[in-house]
C-alpha cells in the first residue's frame, strides 16, 4: 500500500513524466512546493462557495482549475467542501434563513482554513457571515467584479482575482472585424450577477469613443423567447454583444452558455461576448475572461494565504482574445483583422495543419515517433494502462461534472436514487465490479452500514452492514481521513492481515476506499472494487474519487438537512394548516410569502396567485389603505403589530379580523421577516358587544347605586369606585379619605388605625376577615360627625365572588333609618318608663290601699276609744291625748303613703280628639320587629269612621301595648298552629268604641278569666301580674271597661270599651294589613 499523494514524488519513469504532461498539466505547477508525506500533516479544509445553484460551465472551469491547482501545490491533504448558495435565485443578498441554519450546522465543528468565494454575491455572503459561520477563515475570491462590490471594504485577509469582463476590447475587436457596424445590441439577463455584467458594460461602453460611432441598445428584462425574437429581427450593420444570462424576465433560471447557443443560432447578425465559456456556443469571440485562469490564479493566491501571507487582490491577467474559427467562417469575417495574439479555436484541421510538422520538421517527428514506438514496445503494458487511465480520466471528468450538476439540481428525495445510479455509471465507466457507499451510524459504532451499492451482474452484492473489526486497518485509515487503495491485496501491509482475509472472502482483488466527510466529520466511505481482475488506482483517479465522495457527502448532508428542514417545515405547515386561525409569513420587506390553508379557504384566494402584496386586495376597500399603511409602518420599524380590519370572505361577506404579526428572529438574532396570525373576531365582536353592553348595564347599576361602593382586589387595592363614592369623597373627608382607585385601603386604614381611628381599625378588621375568607360578610354601623350634623353609616364588606378574589365594600347612609330606629327606641323607652311608672303607681296605689286599711282601723279605733271614754265619763286628759296622737300619727303615715303615690304617678294632661286607629297603629309599629321575630301576623280591621276619644294617650297606648304583648306572648308559648293577632275597632252606641284584640295563643281557663285583671295574678310564667291590672285601672280611669272572653277555637279576645267623643276622626294610618 502506498499513499497516493506521496506516490507522485516517487521516481518517475520517463513515460510517467510524459503522461503527467499529457493528463495533468496543473501538476507542472507543483515544482515550487515540496510536499511531505500527508500522514504527518493536518488536512487543509477549504470551502468553495458558489453563488449559483449549480455548476455552470464558467464555474466548472474555475472549480476544476482551482481544485487541481491547489491540491497540486499543497503537501497536506485538502478537503474541499462545496456550497451552492443559490443566491442568484433570490432577490437581494439576504440568504434564506434555512440556508444559514444549514451552513451553521454543517460547519459548526469544522475548522475551515480557507473560504473561496466565486462571484461577487458569494463574496458578499462570505464577508458578511464568515465570522458567524466559518470561524473567520480567510477568504479568497475569484470571478468577482470589483464594481459589484461597491465600496464594501476588504480586510487584508480577503484577497482574490478580480473579474474584468472586457466589453470595450470585445467591442473593439468586433468593430475591427465589422467596421460597418452602426448598432450594438447588448443582451444580459436579470439576475444579480447578470446585472453586474450589464453595469460593467455600461461603465465601459457609455463613453464618447463609442457614442459617436455606434448606437448601443441594452436589452434586459426580456424573456428568452423575446430575446430570440429580437435577435432574429436584427438587420445588417448591427452586432450582438452577449453578457451573463442566468435568469430571464420570467424568472426562469438559465445557463448563459445555453442561452447564447440559442441566441447565436437565431441571430441574423454575429454575436460577440466577453466570456470564455461562450466560445464554442456560437459566438464569434471577444476579449474573454478565462475562468480556468481565474481558478488557477485564485488557487495560487490561496496557497500564499494558507502560507500565512496577506497578498492583495490581483487584477486581470486572465483575459485573452479568443475566437471561434467556425463562426468567423460563418459570418465571412476576415481572420487577418483579428487583434494580435488572438487565439482561434475549433479550427477544422486542414491537411496542412495536420501534417505541417511532419512536412516541416520530419526529423523531429521521426525522432519523437521513434521514441514513442520504443517506449511503447518496451512498456506495452504500462502504455496500455496509461491509455486506459487517460480515457478513464476523461470519462470521469465528464461524469463528475454531470453528477455534481445533477445532485445540486435534484430534489433531496431523489438523492438516494441518484447516488446509486452514479455508482452504477462509475462501475461501468471504470470497468469495475462493485461500488459501495456505506455510512456510519452513531447508534451502532461497531459497524458501517451499506446504504447504497451497485454491483455488476453476476457479482455477489454486499448488503446490510459490515463489521468494522473485519477491516480494522482500512477502517482506521479511513477514519483518519485517508484514501486507501490497493491494486492487489498483496499491496496491503502486514498489519492488514485481517482486512486482506475478509476482502478475499468477499471476492475482492483490488479496491479503493475514500472517506466520506459529511458535515465535517468522517461519516462513511465510498469504496470501489474489482473482482474479476486486479487493477491500478492512479493518483488522479483517487483524487477524482475523493471529489466524487465529496459530492456524495454534500448530497447526503443536503438530504439530511432537507429532511430535517422538510420535517420541520412539514410540521409547521401541518400545524399551520390545521390551526384554528389563519397564519401568514412575510419576508423582511413585508411581502407575505406564505398563507396557510385556512386563510386561503377564507378569502378564496389561490396559493398560486401572487399574494405577496396582493393580499391587501382581500381587505375591505375602506380598510385597505389604513391596514396596509399600519402594516408597512410596523414592518419598517420591525416591531410587532396588531391591526383590525375587515377581511372579505370568499362569499363577499366582510369579517372583522385581528391581524397580529411578530418579527421572526433567527438563532443569531437577525431579523428574517414576520410571522402573523389572523383571527376572525366577528363572532367575538358580537359577543364583545354583548359583554360591553352587559358591562355598561352593570356599571350603570354600579354607578347609580345610592350607597358608596368600592371593589378591592385581594391585596386591598381599590380597583373600582362608584360615582356615589367619588361624590361622597368630594363632599366629605370621612370615611372615604385617601381612598381612590389604585390606593390600598388596608394601608390607609392601618395608618389611620395606628393614629387611633377606631372606625379604621374596625374597617381594617372587617375587610381583612373577608379577604382571608374568615367571614362571609361583615356589617358595621358607625356615626360620622360632619360639623353639627351626625350621620350614620353602615359599612358592608362582602367577598368579591370571582376567581381572583377581593372584596366589595359598600357604605350606606343610614342616618334616616338610624334616626327612625332611635325614635322608635325612645318611644319604647318612654312606654317602658310609663310602664314602670304606672307599675310603681299601681303598686303604690295597692300599697296605699293595703296600708290605709289598717291605718284607718287604727284611727277609727283610737277615736272610738276617745268617744267611749268620754261617754263613760272616764275621760282622762292624758289618755285622750294619747289616743288623739295615735290617730294623728296614723293619718300622718297615710299622708306619707298618699304623697308617695302621687309622686310615682306620672300624670299626663288629658287630651281630646285622640284618633284611636292611629294610636293603635303607632303601637303596632313599635312592636313590628317583635312580631316579625315571633313570626306573628297582625291583622287590623279598623272601622274607618271610628270617633275620637278623650284621655291620656300615653296611658291608652300602654293599655294597647300590654294587651298586644300579652297576646304575642300567649302565641309564642303556643307551639304550632296559626300565629295571628287581629285588632278590630268598632263603634258602639251609645258613645262607646270597642277595641277587640284576638289572639290565637294558649288561652286561659274559665276560672282564670275572672281573676286575670286582679293585681299580682298572672297566667304567664314569671309574669308580675300587673299588666292587666294596670290596664283595667287605666281603662276604668277613662270610664271604660275591659274584659277577656275565650275564643270558640283557641286563644282569647280582650275587649276594651271606651267612651268616645261625638266627633268622628278619619283613620290616617296605613291601610289594614
Amino acid at each position: 500500500m502506498r499513499l497516493l499523494r506521496g506516490a507522485r514524488h516517487a521516481a518517475l519513469a520517463p513515460w510517467a513524466l510524459f503522461l503527467a504532461l499529457l493528463i495533468a498539466p496543473s501538476a507542472m505547477a507543483a515544482d515550487g512546493v515540496s510536499p511531505v508525506i500527508g500522514e504527518t500533516l493536518r488536512p487543509v479544509n477549504v470551502l468553495l462557495l458558489f453563488a449559483s445553484p449549480r455548476l455552470t460551465p464558467a464555474q466548472m472551469a474555475i472549480d476544476e482549475a482551482f481544485r487541481s491547482t491547489l491540491t497540486s501545490r499543497l503537501s497536506a491533504p485538502v478537503y474541499f467542501y462545496t456550497e451552492y448558495l443559490d443566491l442568484t435565485l433570490f432577490h437581494g443578498d439576504e440568504p434564506r434563513p434555512e440556508l444559514r441554519a444549514l451552513l451553521e450546522r454543517k460547519y459548526r465543528g469544522v475548522k475551515l482554513d480557507l473560504v473561496v468565494a466565486l462571484a461577487s454575491t458569494a463574496l458578499r455572503f462570505a464577508i458578511q457571515y464568515r465570522a458567524d459561520l466559518f470561524r473567520g477563515a480567510p477568504v479568497v475570491f475569484a470571478s468577482v467584479d470589483r464594481a459589484a462590490l461597491g465600496d464594501l471594504p476588504l480586510r487584508d485577509d480577503i484577497t482574490g482575482i478580480w473579474l474584468n469582463a472586457d466589453w470595450a476590447r470585445t467591442l473593439d475587436a468586433a468593430l475591427r472585424l465589422q467596421p460597418a457596424t452602426r448598432r450594438v445590441v447588448l443582451i444580459t439577463g436579470t439576475s444579480s450577477t447578470d446585472r453586474v455584467w450589464q453595469a460593467a458594460a455600461k461603465r465601459q461602453l457609455d463613453v464618447d469613443r463609442y457614442r459617436a460611432g455606434v448606437e448601443i441598445e441594452y436589452l434586459t428584462d426580456l424573456s428568452v423567447d423575446q430575446v430570440l425574437q429580437r435577435v432574429a429581427g436584427l438587420s445588417r450593420g448591427t452586432i450582438v454583444l452577449f453578457g451573463a444570462f442566468s435568469r430571464d424576465a420570467t424568472g426562469q433560471n438559465l445557463i448563459g452558455a445555453e442561452v447564447v447557443r440559442r441566441v447565436a443560432a437565431s441571430s441574423r447578425v454575429p454575436v460577440y461576448g466577453p466570456g470564455e465559456t461562450y466560445i464554442g456556443a456560437g459566438i464569434v469571440g471577444g476579449h474573454v475572461v478565462s475562468f480556468q485562469a481565474q481558478g488557477v490564479r485564485a488557487a495560487e493566491l490561496a496557497v500564499r494565504v494558507l502560507g500565512g501571507e496577506r497578498p492583495s487582490p490581483a487584477d486581470g491577467g486572465t483575459n485573452a482574445y479568443v475566437f471561434d474559427w467556425r463562426q468567423l467562417r460563418r459570418w465571412g469575417l476576415d481572420e487577418a483583422r483579428l487583434p494580435a495574439g488572438s487565439e482561434v479555436r475549433f479550427r477544422t484541421p486542414s491537411p496542412w495543419d495536420l501534417y505541417k510538422w511532419q512536412l516541416l520538421g520530419g526529423v523531429a517527428l521521426v525522432t519523437l515517433q521513434t521514441a514513442l514506438i520504443v517506449g511503447l514496445l518496451v512498456n506495452r503494458r504500462q502504455r496500455r494502462r496509461a491509455q486506459q487511465a487517460l480515457a478513464e480520466r476523461l470519462r470521469f471528468e465528464t461524469l463528475v461534472s454531470e453528477l455534481s450538476a445533477a445532485f445540486v439540481t435534484s430534489p433531496a428525495r431523489e438523492v438516494g436514487g441518484r447516488i446509486e445510479k452514479a455508482l452504477g455509471r462509475i462501475v461501468e465507466d471504470l470497468r469495475l465490479d462493485r461500488a459501495v457507499l456505506a455510512e456510519l451510524d452513531d447508534r451502532r459504532p461497531d459497524v458501517i452500514e451499506v446504504t447504497h451499492s451497485w454491483t455488476r451482474d453476476g457479482v455477489p452484492a454486499i448488503v446490510g452492514s459490515l463489521e468494522k473489526r473485519a477491516f480494522p486497518w482500512v477502517a482506521s485509515r479511513l477514519q483518519a481521513g485517508h484514501i486507501v487503495a490497493a491494486g492487489r491485496l498483496d499491496d496491503l501491509p502486514d498489519t492488514a492481515q485481517t482486512d486482506r482475509r475478509n476482502m478475499t472472502a468477499l471476492g475482492t482483488r483490488s479496491f479503493v476506499a475514500v472517506p466520506l466527510i459529511i458535515e465535517g466529520v468522517v461519516g462513511g466511505a465510498l469504496a470501489f472494487s474489482s473482482i474479476r481482475a486486479e487493477r491500478e488506482w492512479p493518483d488522479e483517479l483517487a483524487q477524482r474519487l475523493r471529489l466524487l465522495a465529496e459530492i456524495f457527502a454534500n448530497a447526503l448532508a443536503r438530504r439530511r438537512a432537507a429532511s430535517a428542514a422538510r420535517e420541520s417545515e412539514d410540521r409547521f405547515r401541518l400545524l399551520a394548516d390545521t390551526a384554528p386561525l389563519m397564519i401568514w409569513m412575510a419576508e423582511p420587506d413585508g411581502r407575505r410569502t406564505y398563507f396557510n390553508r385556512r386563510w386561503l379557504d377564507m378569502t378564496g384566494r389561490r396559493p398560486d396567485e401572487d399574494l405577496t402584496d396582493g393580499w391587501v386586495n382581500s381587505v375591505n376597500p375602506d380598510d385597505r389603505k389604513a391596514a396596509s399603511e399600519t402594516y408597512y409602518r410596523a414592518v419598517a420599524e420591525r416591531r410587532s403589530f396588531t391591526i383590525d380590519y375587515r377581511l372579505r370572505r370568499r362569499d363577499g361577506e366582510d369579517r372583522w379580523i385581528l391581524d397580529h404579526g411578530v418579527p421572526r428572529i433567527d438563532e443569531d438574532g437577525s431579523f428574517v421577516g414576520y410571522v402573523g396570525s389572523v383571527i376572525d373576531i366577528t363572532a367575538l365582536n358580537t359577543a364583545l358587544k354583548a359583554v360591553l353592553e352587559s358591562n355598561a348595564l352593570r356599571s350603570a347599576i354600579f354607578g347609580s347605586l345610592y350607597g358608596q361602593v368600592a371593589a378591592i382586589d385581594r391585596d386591598g387595592v381599590i380597583i373600582a369606585l362608584n360615582h356615589s363614592w367619588t361624590r361622597f369623597a368630594e363632599e366629605n373627608a370621612e370615611p372615604a379619605r385617601g381612598l381612590a382607585v389604585g390606593a390600598n385601603c388596608l394601608e390607609v386604614w392601618r395608618a389611620a388605625a395606628a393614629g387611633g381611628d377606631a372606625h379604621a381599625y374596625r374597617a381594617l378588621e372587617a375587610v381583612t376577615a373577608v379577604l382571608n375568607g374568615k367571614k362571609e360578610d361583615v356589617r358595621l354601623e358607625y356615626a360620622c360627625r360632619s360639623g353639627a350634623v351626625e350621620r350614620w353609616f353602615e359599612m358592608a364588606v362582602e367577598p368579591f365572588r370571582r376567581p381572583e378574589g377581593g372584596a366589595v365594600i359598600s357604605y350606606i347612609d343610614i342616618t334616616r333609618r338610624h334616626n327612625a330606629e332611635e325614635e322608635a327606641r325612645r318611644q319604647r323607652e318612654d312606654l317602658a318608663h310609663a310602664q314602670r311608672v304606672t307599675t310603681l303607681g299601681e303598686l303604690s296605689a295597692s300599697l296605699a290601699h293595703e296600708i290605709n286599711q289598717p291605718l284607718a282601723a287604727i284611727v277609727t279605733n283610737a277615736q272610738a276609744a276617745i268617744r267611749l271614754l268620754e261617754r263613760q265619763g272616764m275621760a282622762h286628759a292624758d289618755v285622750s291625748e294619747a289616743l288623739t296622737d295615735m290617730a294623728a300619727d296614723a293619718r300622718r303615715a297615710s299622708a306619707i303613703i298618699q304623697r308617695l303615690r302621687a309622686l310615682s304617678r306620672k300624670e299626663h294632661a288629658p287630651q281630646s280628639g285622640i284618633a284611636l286607629n292611629d294610636l293603635i297603629d303607632d303601637v303596632v309599629s313599635l312592636l313590628r320587629h317583635d312580631f316579625m321575630r315571633k313570626r306573628i301576623t297582625v291583622l287590623r280591621v279598623f272601622d274607618p269612621v271610628v270617633p275620637s276619644i278623650a284621655g291620656d294617650p300615653v296611658q291608652l297606648q300602654q293599655v294597647i301595648l300590654n294587651l298586644l304583648v300579652n297576646a304575642s306572648e300567649a302565641i309564642a308559648h303556643n307551639d304550632g298552629g296559626r300565629r295571628e293577632i287581629a285588632i278590630v275597632t268598632t263603634r258602639r252606641t251609645p258613645g262607646l268604641v270597642e277595641i277587640a284584640i284576638r289572639d290565637s295563643g294558649i288561652g286561659a281557663k274559665e276560672s282564670e278569666l275572672a281573676r286575670m285583671f286582679e293585681r299580682f295574678v298572672s297566667t304567664k310564667p314569671g309574669g308580675l301580674g300587673m299588666g292587666l291590672a294596670i290596664s283595667r285601672t287605666i281603662v276604668e280611669a277613662h270610664g271604660g271597661r275591659i274584659r277577656a272572653i275565650a275564643n270558640p277555637d283557641r286563644g282569647l279576645t280582650l275587649h276594651v270599651e271606651l267612651p268616645c267623643e261625638q266627633s268622628v276622626t278619619e283613620h290616617s294610618g296605613s291601610p289594614s294589613r
Partner: protein, 126 residues
C-alpha cells in the same frame, strides 16, 4: 244627746277589712248608732231584710264592688243613703259614686267627725 230619744238609727257598714269593721262598730256605737257590719256586698244582700237608715260602704270589696252594689240597689229601687269609704281614692270613682247618689265619699283613714257628719247627713236626707 239624750238617751231616751227615738230608737237609735241603724247604720250598716260593709268593708272587707275585719279590723276596720270592728273599729267602726266601736266608733259608731260610741257615736250613738246601731251598727250592723258585713264583710262583703254579697253577705249584705243575702242577709239584710231590714232597710238600714244608712249604708257605710267600702268601694273596693272582694267580689261585688261598692259601686256595683250601689248600682244594684239603685236598680232594685232601694234608696239607701250611702257614705262611701275607700282606701283608694280617685276622681273617676268619686265622680261615679256621686252621680249614683252617694251622700259622702271619705278616703281612709277618715276622721270620726267627718264620718259621723256624713252619716247624720244621710240620716237627715232619709
Amino acid at each position: 244627746m239624750s238617751p231616751s230619744a227615738a230608737p237609735l238609727p241603724l247604720v250598716y257598714v260593709i268593708d272587707d277589712d275585719a279590723s276596720l269593721l270592728r273599729a267602726l262598730r266601736r266608733l259608731l256605737g260610741a257615736g250613738g248608732f246601731r251598727v250592723c257590719t258585713f264583710s262583703s256586698a254579697e253577705e249584705f244582700l243575702e242577709s239584710a231584710e231590714a232597710t238600714p237608715a244608712c249604708l257605710v260602704l267600702d268601694v273596693h270589696l272582694g267580689g261585688l264592688s261598692g259601686l256595683d252594689l250601689q248600682e244594684r240597689l239603685v236598680a232594685a229601687g232601694r234608696r239607701i243613703p250611702i257614705v262611701f269609704i275607700t282606701a283608694h281614692d280617685d276622681a273617676v270613682t268619686r265622680e261615679r259614686a256621686r252621680r249614683a247618689g252617694a251622700i259622702d265619699y271619705l278616703r281612709k283613714p277618715f276622721n270620726d267627725d267627718s264620718l259621723i257628719a256624713g252619716i247624720k247627713r244621710a240620716l237627715g236626707d232619709a
